[in-house]
């Protein structure tokens, strides 16, 4: 645990992007406008983005910002683990899909009724093949989050972890708060207190 650092933190909510608690972008408009603008800045031309559901878009775009100045060395790709939680699972998309059953149900929508598909999207883009865990909990709870982190660090060969909370309720209420943790010593050691002090719940 002493050998792990918090490399980067990205919070995307309500049109605002905070990187390590610093406001970097403030975009007016609904989620579609916000995500499209951020895509153009951080991941222009990534066509698969447009077929994603909103939860995946939210997590994906935050991961692109997270990794933008902190690329993971390719030789570590098999050791990049994920630990993402939220409270809504994919309810927003579930409703969309449920409505579509009445006409022609779409397989392209159906796959996004699984929350771990969001992790899959980030893995697909970056060829990350480490362990994945998606959990659902009523609220973000630092003790629960920390417990998952420590158990993951102790018992797997991961060298990097992308972890956090990605929750999409509707176009106005959404939050992606994700971290990159890596092995090695950096200014900010990976501790529960250091996460707590940086985690913003909106």
């Amino acid at each position: 645990m002493n050998n792990w650092s918090i490399i980067n933190n990205v919070v995307l909510s309500n049109g605002k992007v905070h990187i390590n608690n610093e406001l970097k972008h403030s975009i007016e408009g609904d989620f579609a406008t916000v995500s499209k603008e951020l895509l153009n800045t951080y991941s222009k031309g990534y066509g698969k983005f447009f077929k994603m559901d909103k939860l995946s878009k939210l997590g994906f775009i935050a991961s692109e910002i997270l990794l933008h100045n902190n690329p993971i060395p390719e030789e570590d790709n098999n050791e990049v683990a994920f630990l993402i939680g939220n409270s809504e699972a994919t309810t927003y998309t579930d409703i969309k899909y449920h409505e579509s059953i009445a006409n022609i149900p779409s397989p392209a929508v159906f796959v996004y009724t699984l929350p771990n598909i969001l992790i899959g999207e980030i893995c697909l883009k970056n060829c990350f093949r480490g362990e994945n865990l998606f959990y659902i909990s009523q609220d973000f709870n630092i003790d629960e989050f920390w417990m998952h982190i420590t158990t993951l660090l102790n018992s797997s060969s991961s060298k990097h972890i992308i972890a956090g909370w990605v929750n999409f309720i509707n176009d106005e209420e959404y939050l992606s708060n994700i971290y990159l943790f890596s092995q090695g010593k950096n200014q900010l050691q990976l501790t529960k207190e250091n996460i707590q002090s940086t985690f913003i719940v909106q």
Partner: protein, 398 residues
């Protein structure tokens, strides 16, 4: 919290309900005698009724409630009822008692949650809002925890079809950390219109009985059920009967496609390899693999290629049991873990139904008749899910 990687995790109880039985005993008998549970849909009103075959549990919700003495409570969706049924069996099988001083948690995987109920009630929204509470994936786990009085750690996992295996993986990890002394873990999912339509639009449903690992496989049959096991550390064993030890587990992402495996099965290869490394076993020591084997074109060939690579061409005896039960999605990992434990307990390898001809690309022939006295000491079981989520467990005879 003290992590001890050498701490052993034992299986002390099993519970199962699926299309081939409502308990472990019935299930074993069906597996042994090649009695499958694939039929037409009877519980769900769907226009696809006549064109699909599924692994349906013939008990109605009311009948399951009656077995569990839950009369009067109408809010449980089927996913929850199946989980309580299997959890109760596992709990009693392990001889557990409430408040015995050992830290006991419940971790379950599910993909569909209370959808089976929501999709029926949703249309008449305003009359009955109870479905809102029971819709989410965590509901089932909470009800199981309440039913058993086990609240030291309660969590739900949703990682598509590998959810059940990942719940077992997490439970084992919590025990190794001393966070729990025992974990009631596994997976559950009920059939619903939501999933039937979803898989149908993906065009991976076979209209007839599926034939995993066969050259002419045309897709999967959906199923339903729950498989739940009790994991315990040495501390709480107290001389009780142990089925086997969970010696290896791993999860990896395939990073190729949301609903298809990479052409060479890299994700499945990594999860099998990492679980094997953790177990400390040599590849030749694996006696049986209960494969994911959905019967889709893509899964069986890529899983086969991954096995050929890992075992250097000498693939152990293997079978897919999905032609017995259908693919129970989030329940599958729990159900097939119970099958793997039964294989060790009864020294038996279960057949892969409907196999006729090997897939040319891999030329692998599964076990097609029940093998008794098979010398089963170490069993590997695979569960792969959408999103590239690949998991493997290894159970070993103690």
């Amino acid at each position: 919290m003290q992590f001890d990687k050498d701490k052993k995790v034992f299986v002390t109880g099993i519970g199962i309900i699926s299309a081939i039985g409502t308990n472990a005993k019935e299930t074993l008998s069906s597996l042994e005698h090649k009695k499958h549970g694939i039929s037409q849909i009877s519980h769900i009103k769907t226009i696809h009724k006549d064109e699909l075959k599924v692994g349906e549990i013939k008990l109605t919700n009311a009948e399951i409630k009656e077995r569990l003495n839950l009369q009067g409570d109408n809010t449980y969706p089927r996913t929850t009822l199946l989980a309580i049924h299997a959890a109760k069996e596992a709990y009693e099988d392990a001889g557990l008692k409430r408040n015995d001083g050992f830290k006991t948690g419940v971790i379950l995987g599910t993909t569909v949650g209370g959808m089976d109920k929501s999709e029926v009630v949703y249309k008449n929204i305003g009359e009955d809002l109870s479905f809102i509470d029971s819709h989410h994936c965590g509901y089932t786990t909470e009800r199981v925890a309440d039913f058993l009085g086990a609240h030291d750690f309660v969590s739900s996992l949703s990682t598509a079809c590998s959810s059940g295996v990942n719940a077992i993986l997490l439970g084992a990890r919590l025990i190794k950390h001393g966070i729990l002394d025992r974990a009631i873990v596994g997976g559950t999912d009920a059939l619903s219109k939501f999933t039937i339509n979803g898989f149908r639009t993906l065009m991976i449903l076979h209209t007839e009985h599926s034939c995993p690992f066969d050259k002419n496989r045309k897709g999967l049959n959906l199923g339903e059920g729950a498989g739940i096991i009790v994991l315990e550390s040495e501390k709480s064993l107290n001389g009780k009967k142990v089925y086997c030890e969970l010696t290896g587990y791993a999860n990896n992402n395939d990073a190729f496609h949301q609903t298809a495996s990479s052409p060479d099965g890299l994700g499945p290869y990594l999860s099998m390899k990492n679980a094997l490394e953790m177990s400390g076993l040599k590849p030749c020591e694996i006696d049986y693999i209960n494969v994911h084997g959905t019967g889709t074109d893509n899964n069986d060939v890529t899983e086969g290629l991954a096995m050929i690579k890992l075992f250097d061409g000498k693939v152990p005896k293997f079978s897919s049991t999905k032609a017995f039960t259908g693919h129970a999605l989030g329940g599958a990992g729990g159900i097939e873990s119970v099958f793997s434990i039964l294989a060790i307990e009864h020294d038996m390898i279960f057949p892969n139904l409907n196999f006729k001809e090997a897939i040319p690309e891999i030329n692998l022939i599964p076990v097609t008749e029940t093998i008794k006295n098979a010398g089963v000491k170490n069993v590997m079981t695979n569960s792969f899910g959408f999103g590239g989520n690949d998991s493997t467990l290894i159970f070993s005879k103690v």
